[in-house]
Symmetry: C2
Subunit: 231 residues, 2 copies
DNA sequence: GGCACTTTGTGCATAGCTTCACAAAGGTAC
DNA sequence: GTACCTTTGTGAAGCTATGCACAAAGTGCC
């Protein structure tokens, strides 16, 4: 057991725990009782040594010669991730994306609950969505406080994102998931994660282009950029 | 100049280029002509040494004592990311998320174009969205081929994701952006990036819980897990 | 031209992450 | 109980990424 459990799980490990959890839930649904690190690693799409090292950060929950008890490991990971308690999530910005998020099934699953919806557009305020009325952004602070919201999802246009972040932080929120394509500046102690669709596409485009270059053998030269850009 | 430009930009750098590009576009809109690594780093929310090292991988595009020409750098990064050409993107799965993606403004911006929409539900097929009719999934291969689609976004339920991936790969696609909460198994040479809402929330929950633990000083004990889970 | 100032590009040290490889530990069969 | 098999947990090595700190290179003033 040695130095495990001493609080200090690497970020890279934390980022993979949800992946393992999903794989384990899949196994549990199919009635599997125990699983080896090798099999679980395949299901999660990672290297088995990495998987074992990741799990060893939580404690020594496997049995040598046998593997891991699926249910027990699900519980331990859930507990570590804080999913054994209920998190009240607010979504700010009920446009296309905000609606999609509110309706997204897997979202509301284990541990998370959409507790508030906000929008600045009075035409949207009052509308009901997943059994919840949309509140006006003016009520942000009071509703967050009243409903015990601890995680806020920002799905507003980029221009509004920083302002929303400032307000929810002032209201005591310290965890933000940002879908707006904007860099948020936040004080220390506040966690921001961002999901950015165009960034992901651009990364894919980079690799796609590289594959194409390799085939044709024409690594585009740094030619007349002014022409291409008309500056 | 030394060893730059020798093809082999670190993944971590590639992942940040879109961030720099966005910051630069912001500066360009405000009419800024040149920018120092320090200022650009602040705008992008990174360390300036890291920024300079990242940019040095593309080549030596700055001027000592002055900084970087905003327009020129925008062009160089765009070119490196492959945004000077047009990418035809298909979205598979026109549910809430698929619709949100299709309508998402920043998505269709620079370099990307929604060229096809697919769904398995005949009630959705034929519907028009962003000037584009939804095709039935049966037409997947032929439409991908006809419209030159090279990047596919999977926004289907998890159960359908692998099957969709197999089909688009068979149709010649080698870049996939996966929004379905499923691990995709793909052959070598195919790039998959995944965006997972519940994973992000779970990571936030982990940190949020840890903050709470630190305050109350009650690091939840590994108690009767069977009770909590009812197994 | 020379000097002072600014800012890039990068060598180097450090930190963090990944992977290998194996000893330790548990199970099973006889 | 012993021998053998399986699989975990982890030390150690290698690799990648980060950030400091500074020499090199440019600008502009006089």
């Amino acid at each position: 057991m040695s130095q495990a459990r001493e609080r200090g799980i690497p970020d890279a490990t934390v980022a993979r725990l949800p992946l393992y959890l999903r794989a384990l839930n899949g196994l549990a649904e199919r009635g599997t009782a125990t699983v080896s690190s090798e099999d679980l690693a395949v299901a999660a799409g990672v290297n088995s040594a990495k998987l074992r090292k990741d799990l060893s950060h939580l404690g020594s929950y496997g049995t040598r010669g046998v593997g891991y008890d699926v249910q027990y490991l699900i519980y331990q990971i859930s507990r570590e991730l804080g999913l054994t308690q209920d998190w009240a999530v607010a979504i700010v910005g009920v446009g296309n994306l905000g609606r999609a998020l509110a309706n997204y099934g897997g979202f509301v699953s284990r541990g998370f609950r959409v507790a508030a919806l906000f929008d600045a557009d009075t035409a949207v305020v009052g509308e009901r969505l997943v059994g919840m009325a949309v509140d006006h952004i003016d009520q942000l602070e009071s509703v967050i406080d009243k409903r015990g919201v601890s995680i806020v999802v920002i799905a507003t246009p980029a221009a509004a994102a920083q302002q929303v972040a400032d307000r929810v932080i002032a209201a005591g929120v310290t965890s933000i998931l940002n879908f707006a394509p904007a860099v948020l500046t936040v004080p220390g102690g506040v966690d921001v994660r961002k999901v950015d669709l165009s960034t992901e596409l651009q990364i894919l485009a980079f690799h796609e282009q590289r594959k194409a270059d390799r085939e044709t053998g024409s690594p585009m030269m740094a030619g007349d950029w002014a022409e291409a850009m008309d500056v």
